[in-house]
């Protein structure tokens, strides 16, 4: 007997995602109008690639150096306010890039704190932050705390027995580093370094605002400029293809070579590190802590100055932008959660029910590939597709939540997938023997376990989307304004006082959402 069965929702989602990406590319590539050859954009491409790679490498090296130094200093020392520093490290990870741009202007800009301080001290010339200095400062400010946080979690996972052995053997500080810290760092570093390089390589808002010249672009910015300024879809397609190939190979390398179990909620090991008393390390740690404080604290605190400027921005456009941002973020989060749930449940079915781990691994990898797709190229491609069918003026309202949602799928997936697997391993056989399948299985078996991680994924997806300054740069204008767009506009007009207040609002909402996400994901354990 012939029966027609609908494919699994996750299969449909996977094909839909692949279809969107492929459709977008085909639309770009076949758009008529003298498509350039790769050769004709060669020299420009070379400059952009060289700049992308150099700035990403330098950003990665500085972030690792400061982050690891900071983690080791924090793990060796206890001082008043240490717990505040640790909490602050976790929150900087949710700091939107456009707010980091504001912080760099506020501290190092033409009329920033440093400049004013130097003038006060009698330094005549101004300082310019455009180009490498500004970009590196912003990237290190965002990434060093992330490195420190991951390194701290790694160091805290060294078993207490190893510290007791180190004490019992009388290890010197150098031996402690060689036998305890270094093996952990060597295992973790390649993965962290690769991730930071990838994020800096794809950097958009920071490079757009702080690059200060057409040759100082990442591929992402180059794609944006080809769209916004030149409307050159052929060049967009080429640049996007190259960006996709580079990022996809790096993502694949990271995914297959360095995936490690997610870091749990670690308690600080109660065993005292035997190297905490070494004088040389006391001096080193003091220097590292001083550098980290001098570098990170002013940038972080600059956002707080927005507090006194809040009254200045309480106009209608702020409220409107706030509502728009919230609505886009919530829709994006819904999209991200639904897609992640469908993909994770397809991966689970392949792995545990159909026993095909290879296909399951493909489903696991698919969310990460979304990080490699250049959002501007995808947006442009989809825009070309949409305009054939409907009114292109409302395209932004559809594309913004969709693209932001797709970008958040990998994060939502990480919250949902492990829990789905665990439920199936525990109750899958019972459910199968009772004949509980499909919707009933989802509501009876999965939902009780899934609701917290799903809510955590939702909150994080919302935080990411809320603070995102990406393709809104294309669609933003009088019709459509989000808070990050408003901030970018004020920065462009050098209205730092208003920018500070907008930045503060963005940061508060993003941090609050990230905090809720963290609480929800830890509460289950």
């Amino acid at each position: 007997m012939l029966t027609l069965r609908l494919p699994h929702p996750g299969t449909l989602v996977a094909f839909a995602i692949l279809g969107l990406v492929a459709g977008g590319f085909i639309a770009l590539a076949t758009f008529d109008g003298g498509a350039p050859t790769l050769f004709s954009i060669g020299p420009y491409l070379g400059r952009v690639l060289a700049f992308s790679i150099i700035q990403a490498t330098l950003s990665t090296v500085f972030s690792l150096a400061l982050g690891i130094g900071l983690a080791l200093a924090l793990v060796r020392r206890s001082f008043p306010g240490r717990s505040i520093v640790l909490a602050a490290l976790s929150t900087t990870m949710a700091m939107p890039t456009i707010v980091a741009v504001f912080a760099v202007f506020a501290v190092y800009g033409r009329s920033g704190w440093l400049s004013e301080g130097l003038v006060f001290l009698g330094w005549p010339g101004g300082i310019s932050i455009f180009g490498y200095p500004g970009i590196l400062i912003a990237h290190v400010f965002l990434n060093a705390p992330f490195v420190a946080r991951i390194t701290l979690d790694g160091l805290n996972q060294i078993p207490a027995e190893h510290w007791r052995l180190a004490t019992a053997f009388g290890f010197t500080p150098a031996q402690i580093f060689r036998h305890l810290d270094w093996p952990m760092l060597r295992a973790e570093l390649p993965g962290i370094a690769g991730l930071i390089f990838l994020m800096c390589f794809k950097s958009f808002a920071i490079v757009l605002a702080l690059g200060g010249g057409p040759s100082r672009s990442t591929l992402e910015v180059a794609i944006y400029e080809a769209l916004k300024i030149d409307l050159d879809f052929g060049r967009v397609a080429w640049l996007a293809l190259i960006q996709l190939v580079i990022c996809l190979s790096m993502t694949a390398l990271l995914h297959w070579a360095f995936t490690r179990p997610p870091v749990g909620h670690t308690v600080r090991s109660l065993v005292r590190r035997p190297d905490a008393n070494a004088h040389s390390l006391k001096i080193l740690d003091a220097i590292v802590l001083a550098i980290a404080t001098l570098f990170i604290a002013p940038l972080a605190l600059s956002v707080l100055t927005g507090l006194r400027n809040i009254p200045d921005i309480l106009e209608a456009d702020l409220l409107q932008a706030f509502i728009t941002s919230m609505a886009i973020a919530a829709t994006a989060a819904v999209i991200a959660c639904i897609l992640a749930l469908a993909l994770a449940s397809a991966a689970r079915r392949r792995r545990l029910v159909l026993r095909s781990p290879r296909i399951a691994a493909f489903y696991d990898f698919l969310p990460d590939t979304l990080l490699a797709v250049p959002p501007f190229a995808l947006t442009a491609g989809l825009f070309l597709l949409i305009q054939r069918f409907g009114d292109p003026s409302s395209a932004g309202l559809i594309l913004l939540p969709l693209i932001n949602g797709l970008a958040a799928v990998p994060f939502a997936y990480r919250f949902v997938a492990p829990h789905l697997l665990t439920v199936e391993e525990r109750y899958g056989r019972v459910a199968a023997s009772l004949g509980v399948t499909g919707w009933a299985k989802l509501t009876i078996m999965d939902w009780p376990v899934l609701k917290r991680p799903l809510a955590a994924g939702f909150a994080l997806a919302m935080a990411l989307s809320f603070g995102d300054f990406g393709i809104i740069a294309l669609f933003g204008g009088t019709e459509l304004v989000t808070l990050p767009y408003l901030l970018y506009e004020r920065l462009g007009a050098y209205r730092l006082d208003e920018a500070s207040a907008i930045g503060l609002v963005i940061v508060l909402v993003a941090f609050l959402l990230a905090h809720v996400s963290g609480r929800l994901s830890h509460a289950g354990h």
């Binding site: 027995e161 190893h162 007791r164 052995l165 305890l180």
Partner: protein, 233 residues
């Protein structure tokens, strides 16, 4: 002889007060409920915990002012005894020299000891490539090559299956007959060591409740408490 007299340690929710004597060359099995203070007793002797009062001497020497590395003590934990990035010889070598600059004589001693614990030819293996029982043999070999006369074994074989556990205890017994060491070993199931131990100490609520020959302890009025301690954890 190891002499512990009224060594007192205080936490907000737990008070320990130990008094115990173990003769030189004896093997003392320490039993009792989990959370009763067995491990704390060993950690105190090793120097990871410092008592606020009391005395702790071994062979007439006061151990309390000594840093852990300076005490005549070697310790083996239940787990995580080996550094995963070092091979077997290096892991054992740490017991002689933390710098791992080993002389030919020392390398030979390590090879002999590895042979004695039944790990001949395992010298360049990494801990990740070995079973739990083999890893504990390496840890035992390290305690032996260190030449320290007092060996503390903290639930060393509890994660092994019963037959293997028994084999390891017999190995410890065999080793101590070859060289003059005093051993304190916390164990989970008293029967495992009843015939090899010279002495058995029952520790509960932070105190050495009773100490004596294993048969005395196991047949005393404590028997129901010992049985409860074993079945509860």
């Amino acid at each position: 002889m190891l002499v512990i007299e009224n060594c007192r340690l205080t936490w907000s929710d737990f008070v320990a007060d130990y008094s115990l004597t173990v003769k030189a060359g004896h093997l003392c099995a320490v039993i009792g409920p989990s959370g009763g203070g067995k491990t704390t007793l060993l950690h105190m002797i090793a120097g990871f915990e410092t008592p606020e009062s009391g005395t702790l001497t071994f062979a007439g020497q006061n151990l309390l002012p000594l840093a852990p590395a300076k005490r005549p003590v070697a310790i083996v934990f239940q787990d995580h005894n080996l550094f995963p990035h070092l091979n077997v010889t290096q892991n054992v070598g740490l017991g002689i020299r933390p710098s791992l600059h080993l002389t030919e004589n020392e390398k030979q001693l390590i090879a002999q000891t590895l042979e004695a614990v039944g790990l001949e030819g395992f010298d360049i293996r990494k801990p990740g490539e070995m079973s739990g029982g083999q890893r504990q043999r390496v840890a035992l070999a390290r305690a032996l090559v260190s030449g320290r006369p007092l060996i503390l074994l903290d639930e060393p074989f509890s994660s092994l299956d019963p037959t293997l556990r028994r084999d390891m205890i017999l190995l410890v017994d065999e080793m101590r007959r070859k060289r003059p060491v005093t051993i304190l070993m916390t164990i989970h199931t008293p029967e495992d060591a009843a015939d090899v131990a010279d002495q058995m100490a029952f520790v509960a609520d932070g105190k050495v409740v009773a100490s004596g020959r294993p048969t005395e302890i196991l047949n005393s009025a404590l028997a129901p408490r010992i049985a409860a301690a074993v079945s509860n954890s």
